[in-house]
């Protein structure tokens, strides 16, 4: 093929392509609008400037801290909580009871802004230690919780089986109490129910108290730590006329000796 023929072919193809391309052509964009005629802009007013601090930042409860602030470019200035509107510069004593974050809010033509200052409140130091740093039970409390009454049959001072068990337990409890409270002295109080005579019951209560003391001493409780007294039927724990009450009153009770 000759050189002109190739050129003619290229031209025709270009034309075809061109023709095809013309069919999708968008309209030319409109000319950009002319810029509006604005005045020469003045610089905007500055936002308020805040300085806010609390000194010291940590106090003990009951002490006070000083809030200081300095604000410019603001018309309304307030501090919350609890202070309210303030002047542009100032300081204020505060004594919050708990840690408090104070917020300084300032607003002016240039906008508003806030700043915070926190006063940390700590608890005061604990009071000096009490004389008994470890709460100890009194002798009376120990006796009432650790030592049980021994019960008796009517007109008897024999140590029954149940009293034997009770007193065996009581012996250990008493030894432990005497270790804990070396100067303790315990009074064994013999009591009777209301049926016997007042006079004889003084004797019977005495024998009941002595019986328990002898038993406890045999189990190793020091005799000089145990006193005895008989209340006969003079100090009843109940006054009903039935066996349940009678049994309650036929007992040795353990109390702190005076």
């Amino acid at each position: 093929m000759t050189k002109p023929k190739i050129s003619a072919l290229l031209l025709s193809v270009s034309l075809i392509l061109f023709a095809a391309g013309c069919k999708k052509k968008v309209p030319p964009p409109p000319p950009p609008p002319p810029l509006a005629a604005t005045p020469t802009p003045t610089p905007p007013p500055p936002k308020p400037a805040l300085q806010f601090s609390a000194e010291p930042g940590t106090i003990e409860r009951g002490q006070s801290a000083t809030l200081r602030w300095s604000v410019s470019d603001a018309t309304d200035i307030s501090i919350a909580p609890g202070i309210g509107t303030v002047t542009a510069r100032g300081e204020r004593q505060v004594s919050p009871t708990d840690t408090t974050t104070y917020t300084l809010t300032a607003s002016g033509p240039g906008g508003s802004d806030t700043a915070t200052a926190t006063v940390n409140v700590t608890a005061p130091p604990p009071p000096p230690p009490t004389p008994t740093p470890v709460p100890k039970k009194t002798l009376s409390e120990l006796l009432s919780t650790e030592v049980q009454d021994a019960l008796f049959d009517y007109d008897k001072s024999d140590i029954r089986d149940d009293a034997r068990a009770t007193l065996t337990h009581d012996a250990e409890a008493l030894k432990s109490i005497f270790t804990e409270i070396p100067d303790a002295v315990v009074q064994i109080e013999g009591n009777c129910d209301e049926r016997g005579s007042a006079e004889y019951n003084i004797g019977l209560g005495d024998r009941r108290a002595t019986a328990a003391k002898d038993f406890l001493v045999q189990l190793g409780v020091p005799a000089d730590k145990l006193k005895t007294v008989s209340y006969g039927k003079e100090r009843p724990v109940c006054t009903d006329a039935n066996e349940e009450c009678y049994q309650k009153n036929r007992h040795d009770h353990f109390a702190a000796a005076q």
């Binding site: 209301e194 007042a198 006079e199």
Partner: protein, 457 residues
């Protein structure tokens, strides 16, 4: 005498069946059948004295009635004409020279008219009162209606006391006492009864009251337990058991000065149930100084303490025979339950008086030294005490209270005819008196809880 007959029977029976047969026989001779009959018409007073005669007559009648010694003929049976003085009687013999006058008060009655039905009195008390020098004066006579007028006067006497109701009552007490004395019985007027009273919970004090229930007074103020009073024979001291210093201990208190007297208690878990000896020079009591309660004797201040009983039991409530001063009755549980025993003043010759049943406590001597009163649960459940009286020589006994609550702490009046005791028959424990045969019950106290009475001079 009937009493002696009874004891003869008792002794015979005792030989055969250990006294059981005769146990319920009469122990104290207080029977209505043998009583003298007295006519005690209302006496009148002249002028200002008359306004106090209501109190006078009430007191005179009350004392004679309470004595339990007589039958008082009912006033409704009396003649309307009451003699005011001896010359108001019309002599029996018409021949008497001075019988022509009208007798304004005696109504022309003879003394013997009072001995006849309907009055049928063996004795007549009469008289009149008036005011002399600002004093209430009584002229009182006591006549035996069974005798001729000339020899009928047993006594005639003038009594003077300050004018007023108290004076009139006092005169009546004195007149009644003189009448009682004719029958060998001391008046109980002005005798005192001491007892234990609980008027706030847990606090017991010694109180006193007159035998007729008047003059109630608190004696001790310890705000503790003051119990088991005993009075000295002269009535000047009271000994009692006090918890004021911890363990029960004896305190002695002067009733004259109201002060505590010294008494040394040996260190022991208890010192209790004090009792004066009849001579008033020593005190017996129970002490646990050597172990369990045993009986000791000591001087009035507690010195010279000496052991009397020696047992492995509880011995308490020692009471010395007021007549002999030697025999001691006491309670002991040496045989199991507490019973009443007798021993010599040295603690020897111990004998069981009760029969071993129930619980026998609170022995108290009759002033005659032959009988004891005591509280016993014999025949009843524990706690149900009745007052019994026993002839100590024969051990024959009789039960004075029956099915009326709990009756304890008998104590004899100085007349040996009355017994004071505590009873809950009214609902709470109170002090009562009765005749020693169980009759004529009278409640002396009503307030608080009152027990452990002891009759003093």
């Amino acid at each position: 005498m009937r009493k002696q007959t009874v004891w003869t029977v008792v002794l015979c029976a005792a030989a055969a069946v250990a006294g059981v047969v005769a146990q319920e026989r009469e122990i104290i001779k207080i029977s209505k059948g043998e009583r003298a009959v007295l006519a005690v018409p209302d006496l009148r007073g002249s002028g200002e004295a008359q306004q106090y005669m209501g109190a006078f007559n009430q007191t005179l009648w009350g004392d004679l009635d309470a004595a339990g010694l007589f039958n008082l003929a009912p006033k409704s049976l009396y003649w309307l004409q009451v003699p005011q003085q001896p010359r108001d009687f019309r002599p029996e013999q018409a021949a008497s020279a001075s019988t022509g006058n009208v007798r304004p008060n005696g109504g022309g009655l003879q003394l013997s008219d009072w001995a006849s039905p309907p009055v049928s009195a063996g004795y007549l008390a009469f008289g009149y009162s008036g005011v002399e020098a600002g004093q209430f004066v009584l002229r009182g006579w006591f006549y035996n209606t069974g005798r001729p007028l000339g020899g009928a006067q047993i006594f005639g006497k003038t009594y003077l006391e300050p004018l007023g109701e108290d004076g009139a009552r006092k005169v009546a007490h004195e007149f009644a006492a003189d009448i009682l004395q004719q029958f060998g019985s001391p008046s109980l007027w002005n005798t005192k009864i001491y007892f234990t009273s609980e008027r706030s919970r847990g606090v017991k004090e010694i109180w006193g009251v007159d035998a007729d229930g008047s003059n109630l007074k608190q004696v001790t103020f310890y705000k503790s337990l003051s119990i088991m009073p005993a009075v000295s024979p002269d009535g000047a001291r009271v000994a009692f058991c006090s918890f004021a210093h911890g363990n029960p201990a004896i305190q002695v208190f002067s009733l004259e000065t109201g002060r505590r007297l010294p008494f040394y208690n040996e260190v022991s878990s208890l010192t209790a149930t004090p009792e004066f000896t009849p001579d008033g020079k020593q005190i017996l009591f129970a002490s646990s100084v050597t172990g369990w309660a045993q009986i000791y004797i000591a001087n009035l201040d507690g010195s010279g303490m000496r052991r009397v009983t020696n047992s492995r039991s509880i011995d308490m409530e020692p009471k010395v025979n007021p007549k002999t001063g030697t025999q001691i009755v006491f309670i002991s549980d040496r045989g199991g339950m507490p019973q009443i025993y007798r021993m010599s003043a040295e603690g020897t010759d111990v004998q069981l008086l009760t029969d071993g049943t129930g619980e026998a406590v609170n022995p108290a001597w009759d002033p005659d030294g032959q009988h004891i009163a005591f509280a016993w649960t014999r025949g009843y459940a524990p706690g149900h005490y009745n007052v019994f009286v026993m002839d100590v020589a024969t051990r024959a006994y009789t039960q004075l209270t029956h099915d009326a609550g709990r009756n304890e702490h008998p104590s004899w009046a100085p007349d040996g005819r009355h017994i004071v005791f505590s009873s809950n028959r009214s609902g709470s424990e109170q002090i009562w008196t009765m005749l020693a045969d169980g009759n004529q019950l009278k409640q002396l106290t009503t307030q608080g809880i009152n027990t452990q009475p002891v009759w003093s001079k």
